[in-house]
Symmetry: C2
Subunit: 365 residues, 2 copies
Amino acid sequence: MRIGIIGAGQLGRMLALAGYPLGSRFRFLDRSPDAPGAQVGEIVLGRFDDPDKLSALADGVDLMTFDVENVPGSLLHAIAARLPFLPPVSALEITQDRLSEKKLFGELGIATPRWQAVDDLASLNDAVADIGRPSVLKTRRLGYDGRGQSILTRDSDLESVYRRFDGVPLILEQFIDYEREVSVIGARSTRCECVFYPLAENVHRDGILRYSIAPFGDSQLQAAAEDYLQRLFERFDYAGVLTIEFFVVDGALVANEIAPRVHNSGHWTIEGAVTSQFENHIRAIRGLPLGSTEARGHSAMINFLGEMPALEPVLSIPGAHYHDYGKTPRPQRKLGHCTITAATPAERDAALDRLLALGGIDGPG
Amino acid sequence: MRIGIIGAGQLGRMLALAGYPLGSRFRFLDRSPDAPGAQVGEIVLGRFDDPDKLSALADGVDLMTFDVENVPGSLLHAIAARLPFLPPVSALEITQDRLSEKKLFGELGIATPRWQAVDDLASLNDAVADIGRPSVLKTRRLGYDGRGQSILTRDSDLESVYRRFDGVPLILEQFIDYEREVSVIGARSTRCECVFYPLAENVHRDGILRYSIAPFGDSQLQAAAEDYLQRLFERFDYAGVLTIEFFVVDGALVANEIAPRVHNSGHWTIEGAVTSQFENHIRAIRGLPLGSTEARGHSAMINFLGEMPALEPVLSIPGAHYHDYGKTPRPQRKLGHCTITAATPAERDAALDRLLALGGIDGPG
């Protein structure tokens, strides 16, 4: 079974590393011959929005998936007419637009922050009057890792903030003073089998995920999160891995956004669950039985940005696993992650503190 | 860190899959562009005994290792003079000749079956007179997976058996009526750190490993096996993974042979140990801290020869992990393996029975 992946970033690379043992082979589309995935599989060089390159990727593969989300849906419909393309283009298109995503959450009864569409300065003023401050002004499309966002405080000058967005369609969202951020990851196969991983708790700095801890271990929130994920699965007749990020407010889940793919907050599953999110994505889109999502002990995952820590001190930490994506270092670029697995939460937290110190990251304490 | 691997078989492929997260890159030497390793890394096409091809493999890598054992030592010394080559050529050379291996076991006080060198028909007659029958006549070199062996029984005609070996140097070994076969796998790093995996029990059919169960769980045999492995480590100033296969006779270990590499009986460590034998081999030859060899639950590993079982029924077994090496099927060819991990020996054995039935293999019962 040959699988084509649009994008040869770290997600594609980890999909391939998990998929090879299942007898899959991998071909990527990416602009760089040295992209993380290109180091472990075939590469078609080109832009994600070049229809000829997408077509070249499709040639000779049996199934297509993606590790980037910003490919125009119109191009993907053409691919999906030729061969299986999963997760479905409809799910990808919804998540490419925060407004569509928020509307969908509403339709499906999934709690969200209050929001208003912003198309011009007048509607921004109306939205601020309605939602109040602080609130968050975001681009509807192409925003990720905290880019394309601005927090509106009491002091913000709405006109100058609005101008910085250059007239692109926006959405204003209530600022959520959350207790925690958690995410749920699940997989649904083409045979409609569904599995759900334990919730992970995620800690961000500057809008970028710095570390996750799993399992989070709140059975009530777990059940609520799975219920929400199930609604999305059914809505899209979904196949593959799907993620929802939530704020926890007053002990309840408030959905932030969804990602129709394997997710950074699920990297702990490589060593910390019976079956990783990467393997379950491949199983799901190939229509194979899904693997157990049960946690193996207690895990923590830390992202490394700009610089990888030296291997020696990391590997000296009991239960530490090192994941270098093979990227050229650049400031704030995600270069890799490390996962801790331990028998108890206390052992995990002790190892996590050592790992955070190596990365120069402030811990929870 | 670029690592060159002589041979792109399943062992090389699994080394690469384990080494990528550590930031290693891989280049293989093999005759086929579709070899298991070539599907996941760069390939130099050529024969293992072609000095120009070995040199081409060495170009642009920082470190070399191997997944095949039958490369002439003379060629490897030339490589080892250019760049780090690990495990050491001296260890590989010893294991290329059963006679040298047996002599070494003797020197190091490691128990073996009784043996005699056989250089001609007269020495075969002498050896049989000394060792008795049943006994096993083996080629000294190039024997693996039961090839190049003949059992001498009361009825064997020594002259005709001897002729079938075409005059190559032989060794006669006492036939061991063993209770069990077990293997110990350990790693020693270039910094002299040593770790040892729990013993695995191995079940063979027709001289080929069919399944292994780990951990075997006999602390006395474990200690004896580690002691033997340690003697070999020190003798060679070893770096990398090293395996000894033992017969268990009257509750004691009798060494059968050593393999200076990752070993089929250690494939269970991918999911069944904190750190796999493949990752620890890479860590050991790169001089990195070694990872914990602790078992995660109870594992079983089954080889599949000639034909892989269908994915669906395997993946429906709780705790089953599928490993397809990407090879073209041929009768009796090792195409892949599956590993079961379970919380208890009873659960493991139940899943093992299901898996053995899928492979048409008789179980222990």
